[in-house]
Symmetry: C2
Subunit: 145 residues, 2 copies
């Protein structure tokens, strides 16, 4: 908790961002969370703070953090954007279609990157990033089928 707070203050200082209650709370959520977060989840969590936080503020905050490269977005198949720390290395997700649980996965991408380069050359396309997500059923949800 205390070490988190200092870590966050360092990040904010390094990025010329003022320290505000909302900012601290969001950064804390990102550091603690195992899964990417949606805005509705953030608002839910922030609502327990005295006086709550307006959704506009959250959206503007996320824009800032993204601009500074502190967080990045993930698309997980529904209509929402999800956000997670950019400092977590590039990785992909396993998404349970049933319970919506999300797991980070760490896979070997060498072969994928090789294919990427080949295509890039063939089509004259410069590839800047890719999105790769896996959908299926987690252990628990398989049994209940």
């Amino acid at each position: 908790m205390k070490q988190y707070t200092e870590e966050i203050m360092d990040i904010l200082k390094a990025n010329n961002l003022r320290m505000t209650k909302t900012r601290m709370a969001l950064m804390m959520m990102f550091l603690k969370s195992e899964e990417p977060l949606s805005v509705s989840e953030m608002l839910e969590a922030l609502s327990s703070m005295k006086r709550g936080v307006n959704k506009t503020t959250v959206y503007r905050e996320l824009e800032q953090l993204q601009l500074k490269g502190i967080i990045s977005t993930v698309q997980l198949g529904d209509r929402k954007q999800y956000y997670e720390l950019a400092s977590r290395d590039h990785h992909h997700h396993l998404i349970c279609l049933e319970c919506k649980q999300i797991e980070d996965i760490d896979m070997n991408e060498e072969k994928l990157l090789a294919e990427e380069k080949k295509m890039s050359r063939k089509k004259g396309f410069v590839i800047l990033r890719h999105s790769l997500e896996f959908f299926g059923l987690c252990k628990q949800c398989q049994c209940q089928e």
Copy 2:
């Protein structure tokens, strides 16, 4: 044109779907299009038909076609759903971040599927499908930067 019409009527008959103007028009669009289509594009195109078509109808139609396995959806990073024929083999896309042009790509997925199986086993997750999209700049848009 004529051969398309018959092809479509066969598909519809095989799936117990009545033949309607909207349905024919949409199927025709899907058959002819090189790219996945968004609802706004479909409505745009359908608006030239006499009396146009209501967006509710289009959404309901897409639901039907998806249910019958005739079309499938793709997420391309914006807030819209895109639709394309499911009969096109499983493939991925190159998306130009500048001009929004979309290209189908056909790549070797063996290595990806191998990784998929490995992860699946390790995590006890059943993987049903994946989504893999590449973002970057097409040949034209690179020069204009």
